[in-house]
Symmetry: C2
Subunit: 201 residues, 2 copies
DNA sequence: ATTTGTTTTAAACAAACGTTTAAAACAAAT
DNA sequence: ATTTGTTTTAAACGTTTGTTTAAAACAAAT
């Protein structure tokens, strides 16, 4: 038999790049086929439709990425250390795939129904343990009283937003991709200090 | 003569809503025409192309919005008061047009060339005065030493990002649009305190 | 009443889209 | 050597896309 796995992988690889770069609607099946150097029909042969191919790739891209973040958030780590590790892991993850933020935001705003069925939901929605931890630390007098929902959103905003405006940041500061990464890596400490000083009693 | 201005406005109004909701590529000229209850050809009669109509609307939406923010940033206000006013005005602006963030982010990532020619550039790029102010306040010993670029990005992230994930926030917390606005208005103080406590000496 | 210039209309354009079809090419099993 | 099942191919499918055309409708000026 012919090499099924090979072409299937080629389709996913090419489609992933294109979907990340141009989004769903700007990417045509002919784009995908020509980049993967395969016949157009093979896209419908292996995946039943462009839509299904897209959802497959969403799962591949997002599913694995955020499950590791949820682990940290649900761990028994000390609050400060948990925040530190969460920031570091999240930023490392986004540095290795800087288009992920824009990709998710695009899906969120063009087809919100798609995201709620996906694994992102579980990992972004379930912040109960972290919220309880914040409440408990406040009861002990270790930190100020905060709305956990707002605090978590602050953390997420400071981590993710810069990747959504990467183009602007780079143009404004004449950054190369390496300079952008340096700038982002510096943010690990900055975000940590900002968040910690905002809850210090 | 017939009512030229009326139809032109109808086109802009309808196209604005659709572009904001669905973006450029998901909005067809037939969508625009049927919503404005006009003939398809009139879109090409008043604006030469869908592209030009889109750029016209970008200028209308963004141009006016951000120029008022730049005024605050370039003013001679005391640092704390400037930060306070900037946050408040920005959030008020986004509450009155909650789709603006997603709209700009979509343009940024699908056609970055478009945004650099626009008025957003001037208002987002020129943060020199604000940066100098931060440096000066540090020299006086009033605030900690900070990278102005990072601090400004923090401010922007905390303000804008929640609007980019409005859908997720609402679903997670069972928020109505009013509840979301309440949640966001509470952020005015939260963001201010977070930023100020991060630069306190 | 006729001319003039502008606005609106219906119809069609070529191009691109996602998808389907039916036959060819291929490798393994009988 | 032939059959079987899978993979690949070329061509066409019917829609939808943005845009153009040419004629009609219209209001104001002569």
């Amino acid at each position: 038999m012919a090499d099924k796995s090979n072409t299937q992988e080629k389709i996913i690889e090419s489609a992933t790049v294109l979907f990340l770069e141009k989004g769903f609607h700007r990417t045509s099946v002919r784009d995908i086929a020509s980049r993967a150097k395969i016949n157009i029909s093979l896209m419908n042969y292996y995946f039943r439709s462009k839509e299904i191919l897209f959802e497959t790739i969403i799962d591949l891209l997002i599913g694995g990425a955020v499950s590791s973040l949820k682990e940290i958030l649900d761990s028994d780590l000390d609050l400060n250390e948990k925040i530190r590790q969460y920031i570091n892991k999240y930023i490392d993850l986004l540095i290795s795939n800087p288009l992920l933020v824009s990709f998710v935001l695009a899906i969120l705003n063009h087809s919100p129904d798609k995201i709620s069925k996906l694994k992102v939901t579980d990992s972004l929605y379930n912040t109960e343990k972290f919220a309880n931890q914040l409440d408990e630390e406040n009861s002990k007098g270790n930190i100020r009283k905060v709305d956990p929902e707002q605090f978590y959103l602050n953390m997420l905003s400071l981590i993710a937003f810069p990747f959504a405006v990467k183009h602007v940041i780079n143009e404004k500061n004449n950054f190369s991709n390496e300079a952008f990464n340096d700038f982002i890596i510096k943010r690990k400490d900055i975000i940590y200090n900002t968040l910690i000083s905002s809850i210090k009693p």
